[in-house]
């Protein structure tokens, strides 16, 4: 081996070692690409060493380049494959290719080669995990033919490149997976916490925008009138569709296609898209986009779409990634819908119960009581016709009437317990005063509620105070009960405190469990605080402007 040959080999080995170090250190592929083309251009003393990546659409993109012509071929530039040239030969055969004279070449790329005065060239494929990723090419001018072993020597570099790319890809895939899992977990936590769907929508669309290589993301709901409403959007500035805006379906666009097929949809070019939605999308610079259906309890609820303004189509794995987030959204909507239904049905059950109580109260007062009074009047009339003060019949009649009077009193008390007429007539203030008067314990009232509230709210508040007074009297050995009511804002707040024994256990059967149900049915909640020896306090909050009351 000559000194020159030895020196060349040593140089090549050290160049390979430098590249290998970069790969081992996991530097970003872009840096490795630039370093490799630079090393290769110097080592082979060529006018151009370039790295190209094959694209699915039959083009090749320049990803790095070095040498005298390195500045002329811009990174990111795309070239059509076809004809007889290095790029196309490597693409077609998957093997190294050589062209010693560009005289007989053809196709768009050979025109470029001639433009840059390239004479001969060698290309070797970059094969990443069995698939053809791209090629590394070296080119000379006509005067400088490439050595015979160029392919073999170049292959050592492309192998290193393939390793670097594979590493970077798996790292990226891992990172992407981890990020997606984290995003899914964040959204799932929101869903599990039962936050309002609008919050989930906003969070999801934010994650979609962050996770996927898109400029624009939308979540839409299909309306019964054949329109679509944007419920959440993500994007840069004015590119966004306004939340809450409605659009008619129709034409060739994501919203309409998902609606018609109920399946994921992809549009790789908005040039052919049609309908009002796509016109606006095009106006916002959208080039390619995908959408997946949001299916709630088996019916198509809406869709989630994401798009880019880049020329390059969205990667093929974008649909499944979008779909996994869409599933969470569907779950959130399903949960919220069943929760709302449950809430409404509880409210209906309570309201139906109240209506029955009102009916019973009326029946007792206007029916049974009235009949008893009539019967007693009959007895009085009978009495008046018999003018014997001492006779047996008179005594019986008198006793019967006394008994009936007792029944009447009992009946009145029962009716009052079933439904407090004063509450429907005059509201919480007078009703609480009446409860306080009838309580065996002194009751101090602090009432800030002049206005009338929805009936279910008033009834719930009334029963809570009634039950609390009963408990304080029966069990707490209290000396006074205070009742504070504040219903000036959109939430009714009621606090009932006694100074008794405390230690009340709401699980011990008391009527409080039923009351808690009643209050929760209205979207409110009841809290019991009863430390031993320090009295019992009940705090209640009920939203007054609850949609379920309508």
């Amino acid at each position: 081996m000559s000194d020159d040959e030895f020196r060349a080999l040593a140089e090549e080995q050290s160049a390979l070692r430098r590249v290998a170090m970069l790969v081992a250190h996991g530097v970003p592929p872009g840096e490795v690409f630039a370093a490799v083309t630079e090393e290769v251009a110097r080592l082979f003393s060529v006018v151009y060493a370039g790295l190209g990546r094959y694209q699915p659409d039959g083009t090749v993109t320049a990803v790095a380049g070095s040498g005298k012509r390195g500045d002329e071929i811009r990174v990111g530039q795309r070239f059509e494959l076809g004809g007889r040239n290095i790029n196309t030969l490597v693409f077609e055969t998957g093997r190294a290719a050589r062209i010693d004279s560009y005289g007989g070449t053809s196709g768009p790329l050979s025109a470029v080669a001639r433009q840059y005065e390239l004479g001969s060239g060698v290309g070797t494929p970059v094969i990443v995990e069995g698939r053809l990723w791209g090629l590394m090419g070296i080119y000379t001018t006509l005067e400088e033919p490439l050595p015979a072993d160029a392919e073999v020597r170049l292959a050592s570099f492309t192998e290193l490149l393939a390793t670097a790319i594979a590493n970077a890809e798996s790292r990226a895939a891992l990172a992407q997976l981890a990020e997606e899992q984290a995003a899914l977990r964040r959204v799932a936590t929101l869903v599990a916490r039962g936050v309002p769907p609008e919050e989930v929508f906003a969070a999801v669309i934010e994650e979609v925008g962050r996770l996927l290589p898109v400029d624009l993301a939308n979540m839409c709901r299909y309306e019964p009138d054949g329109t679509i409403t944007f419920v959440a959007t993500w994007g840069k500035g004015s590119e966004r569709f306004p939340v809450g805006s409605r659009w008619p379906l129709g034409g060739e666009n994501l919203g309409t296609l998902v609606f018609e097929t109920g399946r994921p949809v992809r549009i790789d070019s908005y040039a052919d898209a049609s309908g009002p939605l796509s016109a606006t999308a095009r106006g916002r610079g959208l080039r390619s986009a995908v959408a997946t259906p949001i299916i709630v309890d088996g019916h198509l609820w809406g869709m989630m779409g994401a798009g880019t303004s880049l020329e390059e189509p969205l990667p093929p794995d974008i649909e499944p990634r979008l779909a996994s987030l869409t599933e969470l959204v569907a779950m959130a909507i399903g949960n919220a819908e069943s929760r709302a239904e449950l809430q409404a049905s509880r409210a209906r059950i309570v309201a139906a119960g109240d209506e029955i109580r009102r009916q019973i109260e009326r029946d007792l007062h206007d029916g049974s009581q009235q009949q008893l009074v009539s019967l007693m009047l009959e007895l009085r009339a009978a009495e008046a016709t018999e003018q014997c003060e001492q006779c047996e019949l008179q005594v019986h009649l008198e006793r019967t009437q006394q008994g009936l009077a007792g029944v009447l009193d009992a009946l009145r008390e029962t009716a009052r317990g079933i439904h407090p007429v004063i509450l429907s007539k005059a509201g919480l203030g007078p009703a609480f005063k009446a409860l306080a008067r009838r309580s065996a314990l002194p009751v101090e009232l602090d009432l800030r509620a002049e206005r009338r509230l929805p009936e279910p709210v008033e009834v719930a508040a009334y029963y809570v105070v009634s039950e609390a007074l009963t408990n304080a009297t029966k069990h707490a050995q209290a000396s006074v009960v205070t009742v504070e009511l504040d219903a000036q804002d959109s939430i009714l707040q009621l606090v009932i405190r006694d100074d008794g024994l405390g230690g009340a256990d709401p699980a011990q059967g008391s009527g409080l469990v039923g009351l808690a149900d009643r209050i929760e049915a209205l979207g409110g909640h009841l809290e019991i605080n009863s430390p031993a020896g320090r009295g019992t306090s009940l705090s209640i909050e009920i939203p007054v402007e609850s949609p379920n009351l309508a």
């Binding site: 009326r362 009581q369 009074v373 009539s374 009716a415 004063i422 008067r437």
Partner: protein, 227 residues
């Protein structure tokens, strides 16, 4: 023993209109009044009928059920207010299945010759007729059950604690609408003794001295409700 007769010793029988949607009860009431020496000028089943009846017959007394058709809410009360406006001399007795303090005060604010009673009171005929006569004569009467509830209500710092048991008894009768003479009769003491009790109560509770029995009822009720 008060006279059970609706007629005064010298004048003709008191003319009464009866309104209740329950026919059986209405008939019972009418027959009761009839037996007690009143002249029943007619019966009505709802507020409109009552107004027509009262306008055409001008009775001295209207006995009215509060809950009547069509809403079964406070139709009787509303009719009573119209009668009070159009024919203020007509004595009005409202009968109700239950008695509320707010309603009582609202009613009493409308003037004298008013009664607000539980429906079941009619079964104690002697007492009921006595009460009716008090009202026709210009008094105002509130159902004892309401007054009892107000007097018995417990307060932490209760001004009523300053009253003797006898004074409490007198206060309750004042609230029901009894005159001093009426109270004397009920608790078997002289009218002079009742006057002394009443003065003492008014001073202890810081209540205004008032000439008419009606205003006295209203003042005491207000005090009891607000205390």
């Amino acid at each position: 023993m008060p006279s059970l007769s609706g007629a005064t010793e010298t004048g003709p029988a008191t003319r009464v209109a009866v309104a209740d949607d329950d026919v059986l009860l209405r008939e019972g009431l009418a027959s009761l009044f009839d037996r007690s020496g009143f002249e029943v000028v007619g019966q009505a089943g709802d507020g409109t009928e009552l107004l027509n009846l009262v306008r055409s017959t001008r009775p001295e007394l209207a006995v009215i059920d509060i809950r009547m058709p069509p809403r079964h809410s406070t139709e009787g009360l509303e009719a009573a207010q119209v009668i009070r406006q159009e024919l203020p001399d007509t004595a009005i007795v409202l009968l109700s299945a239950h008695i509320e303090v707010e309603e009582a005060m609202e009613l009493l604010a409308g003037g004298e010759r008013l009664g607000y009673l539980l429906k079941s009171r009619v079964t104690d005929v002697a007492e009921f007729i006595g009460t009716i006569r008090t009202i026709v004569a210009g008094g105002s009467v509130v159902d004892p059950s309401l007054v009892q509830e107000l007097v018995r209500a417990r307060r932490r710092r209760d001004p009523l604690d300053a009253l003797s048991p006898r004074e409490r008894e007198v206060l309750a009768l004042m609230a029901e609408g009894a005159s001093n003479a009426g109270i004397a009769e009920r608790i078997f003491v002289s009218e002079g003794t009742v006057e002394k009790h009443v003065r003492s109560i008014l001073i202890k509770l810081d209540l205004p001295e008032s000439g008419s029995d009606h205003r006295r009822v209203l003042a005491v009720l207000r005090f009891l409700e607000a205390r």
